[in-house]
Structure formats: structure tokens, C-alpha cells
């Protein structure tokens, strides 16, 4: 099955039908998607800025992570579910859209960046947990995260103007 065939199958599914054909279904999904954006990206910024040494410098990195990330994860869950349903409604149009491709690439970058941070950089956290300015790999993780999510937000909005 090619990606395009997957897109056609998604559009033909009941979820795709509701997202596409119901004005209220579409509107409610987009509104919840945006609230999810505010709660996920809007919260993860403050952890990224802590890694960069620009926010809550007197609080340990691990404490900032523990307090903020459960909220951000809830936002990401909401965003991925509503985003998946919206995608089902317009999958073939999204498939051919440049900004959708950029958005997916930026989300993959954000995911890989987080994975690299947890698997490699965070191993030495005991040495810099309380540092106002964490070492370069941690700062880089914060900067890449902010940059990637900014691209996701920008290309997401560009998509809706170029797809229909």
C-alpha cells in the first residue's frame, strides 16, 4: 500500500467523512487542535528555555521537567488525536501539500531531538541539573525544540491556506 493509497483510505473512513463534511465537526476539531497547541507547545517552550539557561534558572532542570511535561503531554495527546482526525478528512490534499510535508519533517525532527536528549544528553544530568546554564548539548536540545515547533506551527497555518 502506497502512502497515497493510505490517504485515500483515510478520507473514505467515517472519521474522514465527519471531519470533511460536517461544518461543526470540522470547526470543533480545529478549535480543540488549537487549544492542544497552546497547552503543548505553549508549555514545552518553558522547559526548552530552561535548558537554554533563560528561564527558572534557580530551579533544577529535572524539577522543571517533572512539573511542566505532564501538562504538555496532555496537550500533545489532544493535538495528535484532533490532528489525526483532521488529516483523515483531507489526507490526499495534505499528501501533496508542501507545507504539510515541512510540518511532518519538523515534527520528526522535534521527536528525534527529544529522543536524543533523553537517551544521550540526559545521562549526565546529575552534573548540570542545578546549573543556571546547562552544557552545550542540553542548550542545543532546547534551541532545536523551539525551532522545530515554531516551524510546525507556522507550516500548519500555511497549510490551511494552500490546501483548499
Amino acid at each position: 500500500m502506497t502512502l497515497l493509497q493510505v490517504a485515500e483510505w483515510l478520507e473514505a473512513s467515517p472519521a474522514g467523512y465527519i471531519a470533511r463534511e460536517s461544518l461543526w465537526g470540522f470547526t470543533i476539531l480545529v478549535a480543540i487542535h488549537l487549544v492542544g497547541l497552546a497547552v503543548s507547545v505553549g508549555i514545552v517552550i518553558w522547559l526548552d528555555l530552561r535548558l537554554l539557561g533563560l528561564n527558572m534558572q534557580k530551579q533544577p532542570v529535572s524539577a522543571v521537567y517533572r512539573r511542566l511535561m505532564p501538562i504538555a503531554f496532555a496537550g500533545f495527546a489532544v493535538m495528535f488525536i484532533t490532528g489525526g482526525l483532521l488529516l483523515a478528512g483531507f489526507a490526499t490534499a495534505a499528501y501533496g501539500n508542501l507545507y504539510f510535508r515541512i510540518k511532518v519533517a519538523a515534527m520528526l525532527l522535534a521527536g528525534l531531538n527529544a529522543l536524543l536528549y533523553h537517551r544521550v544528553t540526559e545521562r549526565s544530568i546529575a552534573r548540570w541539573n542545578e546549573a543556571a546554564r546547562p552544557p552545550l548539548p542540553a542548550r542545543a536540545a532546547g534551541l532545536i525544540s523551539i525551532a522545530a515547533w515554531t516551524v510546525v506551527v507556522l507550516s500548519g497555518r500555511m497549510m490551511s491556506y494552500t490546501m483548499f
Binding site: 470547526t27 487549544v35 497547541l37 505553549g42 517552550i45 518553558w46 528561564n55 506551527v153
Partner: protein
């Protein structure tokens, strides 16, 4: 006021935005990025004021970056918002969702400047006063986002 809105729409800027989908898309993208920053700032300062985030550390210190982030986000969203508005001023001012959005935006900014900012600059632990302030501020900002969605999606 109607002649003014019609004039604004007829200006080079209003016509330029109206005539270009690309410009509208870029402005709208930056507008939403600014919104994300404003909402994130409102959320994180709310969490500190209700005591869910480092209640033992001074609010002044915990919310320093968030206070700056709010201003940066507002600058991005308001500047792009004015440009987007110029393209459809006469229709926007007639729209109830848009009117409510502007009313809540004015309320959120006034509340922030007149009272909320002082709570964020305080050193004490969370109290009934800071919890109430946090709740009012977050409600106002979320109202702005909610009516913005309603306006753009249902117009």
C-alpha cells in the same frame, strides 16, 4: 466609525493583504505563533499563582521569562492582527465573535497592566488573591483564543 473602516480597507496595506493569499497566510501563521506564546505565558504564570509550579520560589523569579514571552507574543500577534484586520475591517467590526474577541483582549491587557502584573512581581507564597488573579487572567486569555477560533472558522 464606518467611513474609517472603509478607508482602512482601501489603503495600500489593506488592499495588499486582501489581494494576496500568500501574504495573508504568512501573517496568519505568525499571528498563531504569537498566540501560542501568549497562551503559554498565561498558562505558566497561572500555574505559579495557583501554587502548582514552584510555590516556594518567588513569583517574580519563576515568571520572569513568561512576562517577557507575553510581551513578545502580544507584539507578534497584534502587529500581524492589525494587518489582517485592515484587509477585512468593515466585515470584521460587524462580526459578533470578532467584537467579543476584541473586548476580551482589551480586558485581558487592562487586567494584566492594572493588577495581574503586580501579582507576578510579588515574592510571597500563593494566596487566595493570587489564585483568583491567575484564574481571571487565564480565563480572559483563553476567551480571546476561543472567540478567535469562532470568528475565523464560522465567519
Amino acid at each position: 466609525m464606518t467611513p474609517f473602516w472603509a478607508w482602512l480597507e482601501a489603503t495600500t496595506v489593506g488592499q495588499g493583504v486582501q489581494g494576496s493569499l500568500q501574504v495573508t497566510a504568512v501573517l496568519s501563521a505568525v499571528h498563531v505563533a504569537g498566540m501560542t506564546l501568549v497562551a503559554g505565558s498565561a498558562l505558566v504564570s497561572f500555574l505559579r499563582l495557583i501554587g502548582a509550579l514552584f510555590p516556594d520560589a518567588p513569583a517574580r523569579e519563576v515568571t520572569r521569562a513568561a512576562r517577557g514571552g507575553l510581551l513578545v507574543g502580544l507584539a507578534l500577534s497584534i502587529s500581524t492582527g492589525v494587518l489582517l484586520f485592515s484587509a477585512r475591517a468593515t466585515a470584521a467590526v460587524e462580526n459578533d465573535f470578532f467584537r467579543l474577541k476584541m473586548l476580551l483582549l482589551a480586558g485581558a491587557i487592562l487586567f494584566h497592566a492594572a493588577w495581574y502584573r503586580r501579582l507576578l512581581l510579588a515574592d510571597g507564597p500563593p494566596s487566595a488573591r493570587t489564585r483568583l488573579g491567575g484564574a481571571v487572567s487565564l480565563t480572559l486569555w483563553m476567551g480571546v483564543v476561543g472567540f478567535a477560533c469562532a470568528y475565523i472558522l464560522l465567519e
